[in-house]
């Protein structure tokens, strides 16, 4: 193994579009960086900011959120809510001293396997350039930092507002 930093990325996908895009990338045998591990949600609107902070705290170096294109949400418009949460999350991360670029939002329809693959590879390179996060270790293993949890609560109020 080389000494190149291999980041670990957690990817959140929507059951209807981006998870199917990942399936399509597979069916079409498109190659992309192996650093991503996917979690299937029903909708990007399901993404609780806690999930992102938890992933980063538990050793992920980056989080990729994927959902249907604006206007194409299978639940009509919930991806817009994901978009708003995404911006708030980036702001919160910045406040916590983490590069906001570690969280990325990508729209990918079920037909966009190629886009999904290239976005993953590109994001891995972006995170590689940022270097390891080591957030979890600094804050004690495994548990979501309290600051983040508080921020999450506050954020929810803002999203709903």
């Amino acid at each position: 193994m080389s000494d190149v930093f291999e980041p670990v990325i957690v990817g959140f996908t929507c059951n209807w579009c981006s998870y199917r895009a990942a399936d399509l990338a597979g069916t079409a045998r498109m190659k992309y960086a192996p650093n991503i591990r996917l979690i299937r949600l029903m909708c990007s609107g399901r993404l609780d900011p806690t999930f992102v902070f938890k992933a980063l705290a538990n050793g992920a170096d980056g989080v990729m959120i994927t959902g249907c294109h604006p206007g194409e949400c299978h639940y009509l418009e919930q991806n817009y809510k994901a978009l708003r949460r995404f911006h708030l999350m980036r702001r919160t991360l910045k406040g916590l001293g983490v590069e906001p670029e570690r969280v990325k939002l990508v729209w990918a329809s079920a037909a966009e396997g190629a886009k999904f693959a290239s976005e993953v590879t590109a994001f891995v390179e972006e995170i590689r350039a940022l270097g390891p996060l080591h957030w979890g270790k600094a804050l004690g293993n495994g548990s979501t930092p309290n600051v983040a949890e508080e921020a999450v609560g506050k954020e929810k109020m803002e999203v709903a507002a």
Partner: protein, 677 residues
């Protein structure tokens, strides 16, 4: 097959892990034996009591393996690492169920589409597979046994749109013995097809094949025809929709009207008919759009009626032999209960005036395809004579331009499907009726279905001149001798590699199809989504083309995307078959991926109340708590993520499940110690 380990459980849960080779599809890139071995030893503390790998888990032998372990080892949870859950989730859930385990205690994780097929390093791919399995194991620990929800299905059906797709669907369901409501916005059913003259590739007369179906729909005892009506509100959910329909005032008492047509004859107000005659002909203020209209009752166009404008006239009333004209008639609001809804709302035509370089609206003898349909129609404004806009001159040379407004990023970037064949049909009709020289300008000739290319061959035989090139402009600015008084089509003949200027007398623009201008509002009304272009989105583009993401709502015809008559009819029938299947079941099971409120935790903040696109969340003012209707909830989980009190939980995708999966996925990254639960 290698059986790796059998552990004695020390926790309450006993998990079985099954790693599939999928022949060499997975085993070629992932060391499946190592994954199974690793799971058996490393995840022993997490409750894994057995971990196996097997050549084809989805085979009956593979499934029996799981069933046997459940029975013999008393497994309480199952994780299968194989292909995408979209492929075989149901297979393995069913296997569990057969062995007496609640099917929702099984988790399928993908190591094929998301690992072996997309990565190239076996060591890394194997590591990733381990992480994915670990994520599945952590997640499955938080699964709960679920029971599917069942709802009764009301046997009546609502069909919105009375074009050929809607008519077909209605007849299929009505013939099967169930009641159908057709809601049509226009005064008559028939849709666009009623405007056409001939239909490709057989050149059947459109009216000859459509009219019998219209009559059938109009007289069928199981069909309630609601023309000149629109849906205003849809409430409820699959099996139990409450629909509010506005029946616009016709100003004609249909109980008395015999459809004799005297009112239309006597009405003194003549108006350009923008709908049925595509602006080429006229109608009266009281009218039926065409002679074969179903129902036969006319509609009074209040906006253009002299009586409503000036307070005098009433010619229609004076001459009506049955006293059917009722100026006082008001809109009616109807409420109907239906179990399923089919949307067959059709399309709008692209507005050719937007392509200013083709001069439609500026140059008199540039026509659109729908105008051409009316010109060729024997019942049209010229009795089927193909003439210029002066109403008399027969053209000697005609240019037909394909792809107008389609396959063009300045307008619509999709192919409208029907235009090539439509253009060939016009080429044939112009040739047959005028003997004119006909040019067809195309980018690519698309004639893919049964007998279509044969029709192309026929038009070629008729000496139609085909020019491969997208027309650059149509102009009346003569530059060369022979161009004066003509329309000049300037185009690059791409096969000859030269710019050409071709003088013609008449230009026909084969305009594309567009989603209805109000498709987004209609989609919202019925709770379904539209593609970026505005077509209704089907549940699956290949395997579920007439269902939508909302249970109980189906789509058919051009509302789903551009298509020709055979395809529209097929979709109408397909949607009907789906609806009949549902009606026959009498009740249906819903996927139990639903959100619910833990009332003790709910603070009554109402943050979630406005987030639900399906109106499944309602608030109890008296108790100050929120509740979710499980039949309306579609399980997106937005409210779960938004609840600041953590009072909403989503079955199948609960916070605990997702957080545990994160833990599992990152197991290899947080030291090498077991994760505290």
């Amino acid at each position: 097959m290698t059986k790796t380990t059998t552990n004695q459980p020390d926790g309450q849960e006993k998990i079985g892990v099954y790693v599939c080779h999928c022949g060499s599809n997975i085993a070629g890139m992932v060391d499946v034996q190592q994954v199974a071995q690793w799971a058996g030893s490393r995840l022993k503390d997490r409750g894994v009591v057995v971990a196996r790998d097997y050549k084809f888990m989805c085979s009956s032998l593979g499934q029996e393996l799981i069933e046997k372990d459940i029975k013999e080892l008393g497994l309480t949870r199952v994780v299968v690492a194989a292909c995408s859950p979209h492929l075989h989730e149901k297979t393995f859930r069913t296997a569990c169920e057969r062995a007496g385990l609640n099917p929702f205690l099984c988790e399928l994780v993908s190591i094929r589409e998301q690992v072996s097929w997309v990565h190239t390093d076996k060591v890394v791919a194997t590591q990733k597979s381990q992480a994915v399995v670990s994520g599945g194991v952590e997640r499955v620990l938080h699964h709960e046994p679920l029971e599917p929800l069942t709802v009764p299905i009301h046997p009546d059906t609502l069909i919105v749109g009375g074009g050929i797709a809607g008519i077909q669907a209605a007849l299929e369901i009505a013939d099967a013995g169930y009641h159908v409501f057709i809601v049509e916005r226009e005064p008559s059913i028939g849709g666009h097809m009623a405007q056409f003259d001939k239909t490709f590739p057989t050149l059947d007369c459109a009216a000859c094949i459509l009219t019998p179906k219209m009559v059938q729909a109009g007289t069928h005892p199981n069909i309630t025809l609601l023309t000149w009506s629109e849906v205003e509100k849809v409430e409820g959910y699959v099996g139990n929709f409450d629909v509010t329909i506005r029946k616009k005032a016709r100003k004609v008492n249909v109980e008395k009207c015999t459809g004799c047509g005297i009112c239309q004859e006597k009405c003194p107000k003549k108006i350009i008919d923008d709908v049925y005659e595509a602006g080429l002909g006229y109608r009266k203020a009281i009218y039926t759009p065409f002679p074969q209209a179903v129902p036969k009752y006319p509609v009074l166009d209040v906006k253009n009626c002299i009586f409503f404008e000036k307070g005098t006239c009433k010619a229609c009333q004076k001459f009506c032999p049955t006293d059917a004209i009722d100026f006082e008639q008001q809109d009616e609001i109807l409420n109907v209960k239906v179990g399923n809804i089919i949307l067959a709302t059709g399309y709008d035509l692209f507005d050719a005036r937007k392509v200013t370089n083709y001069g439609y609206g500026r140059l008199a003898n540039v026509f659109t395809s729908i105008e051409m349909e009316r010109l060729t129609n024997a019942a049209g404004p010229t009795n089927g004579q193909i003439v210029l806009r002066d109403g008399k001159t027969v053209p000697k040379a005609v240019g037909i331009i394909h792809c107008v407004g389609s396959r063009d990023r300045n307008f619509n970037n999709y192919c409208s499907v029907i235009c090539c064949m439509q253009s060939l049909k016009f080429a044939h009709l112009v040739h047959e009726r005028t003997g004119a020289t006909v040019y067809n300008f195309y980018i690519d000739m698309r004639t893919p279905f049964k007998d279509y290319d044969e029709f192309y061959q026929r038009v070629l035989e008729e000496s139609t001149l085909f020019v491969r090139g997208k027309v650059a402009e149509v102009t009346d600015a003569a530059r060369l001798p022979g161009e004066e008084g003509k329309l000049i089509i300037q185009v690059e003949d791409t096969l000859a590699g030269k710019q050409r200027r071709i003088p013609v007398d008449m230009v026909i623009l084969s305009t594309g199809l567009e989603p209805r201008r109000d498709s987004r509002e209609v989609g919202k009304l019925f709770g379904i989504s539209c593609s970026a272009n505005g077509w209704f989105t089907e549940k699956h583009p290949k395997l579920d083309p007439v269902a939508t993401m909302t249970e109980g709502i189906y789509i058919a015809g051009c509302a789903q995307g551009p298509k020709d008559i055979p395809a529209s009819v097929a979709q109408g029938a397909a949607a009907a078959a789906r609806v009949l299947g549902k009606i026959q079941q009498k009740e249906m099971a819903l996927e139990p991926v639903r959100a619910s409120v833990i009332e003790e935790k709910c603070s009554g903040c109402r943050i979630c109340n406005n987030l639900c696109p399906f109106n499944a969340i309602f608030f109890h003012e008296d108790r100050m708590v929120t509740e979710i209707n499980p039949a309306l909830c579609q399980g997106c989980g937005t409210c779960v993520a938004a609840c600041p009190a953590g009072a909403i939980t989503g079955t199948g995708f609960s916070n605990e499940q997702v957080l545990a999966q994160i833990d599992g996925l990152l197991l290899l990254n947080v030291g090498d110690e077991p994760i505290p639960v």
